[in-house]
Amino acid sequence: MKTFATGDKITSSILNSTMWSFAAYTATTTAITLGTGGVITTNYCRIGTGDLVFFNGYITFGTSPAITATCHITLPTAADVTAIQWCVGSWVFRDDSVPDHYAGSLGIWDTGGAEISFAGAWDGTAPRDRVRVGVPMTVAVGDRLSWEGWYISA
């Protein structure tokens, strides 16, 4: 975060950095196979020089996709946490063939604050699992997984 002092000069780069605009970032996924033709889009916005970061993402699964374990996805920057499962946002998972729309909340996956997982997924008994193989459904072509949230950057 920038703290201004008396006498600081306001430059165009400082002014530009206070604007609100999103940029793409390349996320790394774990335990997710997008499938042939599948796409993933991930964006973030860090306003000014503060520590608040907004992010979102969207996956359209292609042919023969798979989720092989509890899946997790990297954030644009590391979150300022030292404990797991800080809540940072929400997700929607569309089963395109039915269609059904599952939903839940995002939790920080690791103590380093690098990744998120997808909590509150229906496991056949209760909405208590994280999105993983067969939970909340077996992913197939045309399904959509999207998420959004914000966090304090490290």
């Binding site: 920038k2 000014g48 503060g50 946002g89």
Partner: protein, 169 residues
């Protein structure tokens, strides 16, 4: 009135001097605040961390929180946690309403390992607290977190939440 220029959330007017405090107020950074919980015993060695961010001079407030439960924690009733400032729960007809949706939560059963989730609702018409909606009660995800809902809290379980609201103050 001269031309208006927007920087962050403050509205500037011609001739106004940009001071360091004004510019610093337009930054987005978080600070801790001391939340009060109702119905929650964190347990010996448990910790609660709560943060908020109110950028510029606007009424938008972001907040989050995280509890790691210690030994012998408990929920005695429907639990609530205070917000950093009062939320504005009135609509344009000035009718006060509870359960404005204000964010999300995750509740980790550390021994199971399960991860329940739901949404925050403002608890009271004065907008001072949030409760935790969408908790599984064994039949459907229709309750708020309370004693034994969605499960009986135990040592090392984790409850976290995040959200934003329009401040009334």
């Amino acid at each position: 009135m001269g031309r208006v220029v927007h920087l962050g959330v403050k509205t500037f007017t011609n001739g106004e001097i940009l001071t360091a405090p004004i510019l610093n107020a337009s930054m987005w950074s978080f600070a801790t605040y001391k939340a009060t919980t109702d119905g929650v015993t964190i347990g010996s060695g448990g910790t609660i961390t709560t943060n908020y961010c109110r950028p510029g001079r606007g009424d938008l407030v972001f907040f989050n929180g995280h509890i790691v439960f210690g030994t012998s924690p408990s929920f005695s009733t429907v639990i609530t946690v205070t917000l950093p400032t009062n939320a504005n729960t009135s609509d344009f007809d000035l009718i006060d309403r509870v359960q404005w949706c204000a964010g999300s939560w995750v509740f980790r059963d550390n021994s199971a390992v399960y991860h329940y989730a739901g949404s925050l609702g403002v608890w009271n018409v004065s907008g001072t607290e949030v409760s935790f909606g969408g908790a599984w009660n064994g039949t459907s995800p229709r309750r708020r977190i309370e004693s034994a809902v969605p499960f009986t809290v135990a040592v090392d379980d984790v409850l976290s939440w995040e959200g934003y609201y329009v401040s009334n103050t």
